[in-house]
């Protein structure tokens, strides 16, 4: 019963674009405004960024500690390493035994976890409010004194391999993302997804762990966000008590990432996937811009128009009217470095991949040739406002918005300011970005099908298609 609105909105403007748009904004015609965040921003002497936001509605506290390092920072031949490293952060530090980090949290009724993306690695805890000192102590202990040894490294690597098998290899369409990014990129590390390859996981060594830790797990590369039932002054004193003693980094954090060269001609790829690929899938993908670029917002509107709700263009055309697809959608991945805008169709049995490709490209081209309607524009803004409101209900969601603004945008004010920017996007903006990015030369058309004829079905001959 989970609502599809639960997805986080990740698209926010750069400061300069934001300022200019705010000057232009007159009356914003929208239904309901969400309340603004109340927060404090601090930087400790060792470089740790600290965001504190009080929320006294429930006696709990959420902590997010984000390290600005993800799979795009991995060295060649070490794909999957940032995520493997994330697992090792649960294997003990000076005062914490291996695997007892989460046990200590669960014993006070709390939940802890971590996740790795292309751009960042995030360690989270939610606990009853009185246990704030415990989670700060735990996070500081592993930031300063992670225990690294060969035996633990090798056993945890086996666990990560099981994760890869389970989450991606033995799941229908589980490798779609991996295949798409591998085809779309040539040199930028977005060519691989955070889980990495089995071969690279195998090639990693315990020496890599120490190097990665020393390089990226330093206070100046980290942002701590606390949201919940505390007094900010008291929380700040606790944060300083536990984190001031973490030493400053010995060297600057490297930031150079290989740039992807401009694609200059359409790429068309047809692949056969024999395992866990029940139906053909068609992907039409375009290289776009990074999070913070002024084009990001109109692209997000385009996603809404194409794919949010059953009245959206791709749903209506491919699933409802023409019944070409079992599932179809358009999506923009707008993150640290330029990524992809892509549309996917999982082909309905009895229909062809060519039909889906034609329909997807026509829908994307239509954004270039015609303005979206005023109704569609207003609808997209209403849906955006809804996402904004519905995804700020919990301390977890609030912390997530604040950390994204602070880490990925490097500007915490964007956590609130994106709302007005979005409300001022015009249909001309949407057409402009469609014309900029949705070009044939910039396109990848990828078809991935099971070996013919259609895969393992228990639909019998004579049944409906």
């Amino acid at each position: 019963m989970k609502s599809p609105a639960a997805g986080r909105v990740l698209l926010v403007f750069a400061v300069s674009a934001l300022a200019s748009l705010l000057l232009l904004s007159a009356t914003v015609e929208t239904a309901v405004r969400p309340p603004k965040f109340d927060y404090e921003l601090h930087t400790l002497d060792n470089g740790l960024t600290v965001v504190l936001s009080e929320d006294h509605s429930t006696p709990i506290v959420r902590s997010e500690l984000v390290y600005h390092v993800g799979s795009k920072n991995e060295a060649p031949g070490r794909t999957g390493f940032a995520h493997l490293f994330e697992h090792l952060m649960f294997k003990g530090s000076r005062n914490v035994l291996s695997d007892s980090h989460l046990t200590l949290i669960s014993r006070v009724g709390g939940d802890g976890n971590a996740y790795t993306t292309e751009d960042s690695t995030t360690y989270v805890e939610t606990v009853p409010a009185q246990y704030l000192p415990l989670i700060l102590w735990l996070e500081a202990d592993r930031m300063a004194t992670l225990r690294i040894d060969k035996e633990t490294f090798e056993s945890e690597r086996l666990v990560v391999k099981e994760e890869r098998r389970w989450r991606y290899e033995d799941t229908p369409f589980g490798l779609l993302s991996e295949i798409m990014y591998d085809q779309a990129y040539s040199v930028h590390p977005y060519k691989h997804t955070p889980i990495g390859t089995m071969a690279d996981l195998e090639a990693a060594s315990v020496d890599d762990v120490q190097e990665f830790f020393d390089t990226y797990y330093v206070p100046e590369n980290a942002t701590l966000v606390l949201v919940g039932d505390f007094e900010s002054s008291e929380a700040l004193a606790l944060v300083k008590h536990y984190f001031d003693r973490v030493p400053k980094a010995a060297k600057p954090v490297p930031r150079a990432i290989p740039r992807e060269p401009l694609q200059t001609g359409e790429r068309r790829i047809n692949l056969t996937q024999s395992q866990n690929w029940p139906l053909p899938a068609v992907i039409v993908a375009y290289h776009i811009t990074y999070d913070g670029h002024p084009d990001a917002y109109p692209l997000h509107i385009a996603v809404k128009v194409l794919s949010d709700g059953q009245s959206s263009r791709i749903f209506r055309r491919l699933i409802y009217d023409d019944q070409l697809a079992v599932s179809a959608f358009g999506q923009g991945t707008i993150i640290d470095d330029p990524n992809l805008f892509y549309a996917v169709s999982v082909v309905q049995p009895g229909r062809t991949a060519e039909e889906s490709e034609k329909a997807l490209i026509e829908e994307l081209d239509r954004l270039k040739t015609d303005f979206i309607s005023d109704t569609e524009l207003q609808q997209a803004k209403n849906q955006f406002a809804r996402d904004y409101v519905f995804t700020r209900a919990t301390v977890e969601q609030k912390a997530s918005h604040l950390s994204h603004a602070a880490v990925i945008h490097d500007d915490i004010t964007t956590a609130d300011a994106e709302f007005d920017i979005f409300m001022n996007i015009t249909k001309e903006d949407v057409q402009r970005v469609a014309q900029t990015y949705f070009t044939k030369e910039n396109r990848l058309v990828l078809t991935i099908a099971p070996p013919a004829p259609a895969g393992r079905s228990f639909l019998q001959p004579g049944d409906e298609e």
């Binding site: 019963m1 239904a31 309340p35 509605s57 429930t58 006696p59 697992h87 649960f90 294997k91 005062n95 035994l97 007892s100 980090h101 046990t103 669960s106 014993r107 006070v108 009724g109 709390g110 939940d111 976890n113 971590a114 790795t116 993306t117 292309e118 009853p128 409010a129 009185q130 000192p133 735990l138 004194t145 040894d149 666990v159 391999k161 099981e162 994760e163 098998r165 989450r167 290899e169 033995d170 997804t193 955070p194 003693r245 029940p278 139906l279 059953q310 699933i319 409802y320 019944q323 999982v346 207003q378 803004k381 209403n382 209900a393 301390v395 393992r456 079905s457 228990f458 049944d463 409906e464």
Partner: protein
Amino acid sequence: MTGRWAAGAAVVLALGCVTASAQQPLDWPRESPPPPLPARQVTFPPYELRTLPNGLQVVVVMHHEQPAVNLRLMIGAGAASDPVGKKGVAALAGQLLDQGTANRSATDVAEAIDYVGGVLSVGAGTDLSFANVLVMRDSFDFAVDLLAEITRTPSFEQAEIDRQRQQVLSGIQVSMDDPAYLAGVVFSRLVYGDHPYGMPHNGTPQTVLSISRDDLRAFHQTHYAPNNALLAIVGDVDAEEAFASVERVFGDWERRPLPPTPSTQLPAPARRIVVVDKPGSVQTAIRVGHVALPRASPDHLAFDVALKILGGEGGNRLGSVLRTERSLTYAASADVASRRFGGDFMAKTDTRSDATAEVLRLIVEEVARLKRERVGRRELENAQAYLSGSFPLTIETPNAIAAQVLESLLYGLDLGDLPKYPERINAVTVDEIQRVSREYLQPQQLSVVLVGEAATFLDDLAGVGFDDVEVLSVSELGRFLGQGTAQATLESPLLAP
């Protein structure tokens, strides 16, 4: 199947303790975890409950921080109430609620809800059917009207039935490549036998193809009644305004006599192992368990705690044995699934193909050990500390409050127990854990499902105590699900020879 995926989110579930040592160059204090701050008062947030003269029960949970309102209507009948031979009626009827009404076409409904930035979700589970509407505050009246319209007057147009039926069939085809789905449906069939809980909610292609418009209308006519419905209104709305709106759109909904509840007996646990052969798989999905107890059983709470020790947060022996100690899996867990007429417990994990038999042996041993040995007092306290301590995390949102209230109403539980959850958890004793483990666990009568590459592990199973193994190919699954049931008799012309 969901339409989107997130790239690369990774989850960590690690529990248990293993000591290790290494040199630390940094001058860093040796110290124990810090003590907590003073504990805060935890109170179960207020809600209001009223029953309309026609029997509709209405819960209102007010919450004014965000300008949003959520309406959740639940009908007390789901897939378990499907007519014999027509598995999938409740699911298809639920799925069609937003595909056209007496006044609006499917596209009209979609355009209306999308324009206001709302979200509409409909469907059916085992014991219930549902329609949820989320909107921003200023669309509250619209949402109330829409909810009443789609639940009271769905049109079940033939063209829409055909569309949704095709989506169900295609969805089943995709699921045939999903080890988790295959393991789940076979496990239910083994555990529940001919009971309605034994068949997949969506039905099989054969049953789905047999559903007619009349079947859907009859299901709606029979079960969608105010005296079989619960409604929660949650969020930024005034209680009186909410009740008045409900009265306006549901007040004239006529009470109807409800059909008697199905009386099928649950089968007794019986040892059985089925392998679904999926050549080329790199892992095996493992599911182990048997019938346990209904949600309303007075033993439910203690049994749930026992299963947390076996495989849940705050305990998880399976996680310690399979992941922490042996690196055989990414995740292992055990859960109680308790429904209205009965429930089950299930231990589950996924492991690389060549470790299948070893992991199965370890799981069966942990189930047996829970029955055989008293749990340690410390181990129980840790599980209790998690369950009672996390209580404030479970009442954070008004939707979470509403969900707890609705669950209590649906299963006929005492609403007064909700605020007392931590006290009730902490009152469970080691003796009680042993009593329910002995009463409900039967390690010699486990149902086991393995989905994976049979050739890799089949020969190992006898060595871990399972020698009477049934092996199915995916294409034989439809027959397997239908065999021996009333469905099979009715539907035999559609079944492959």
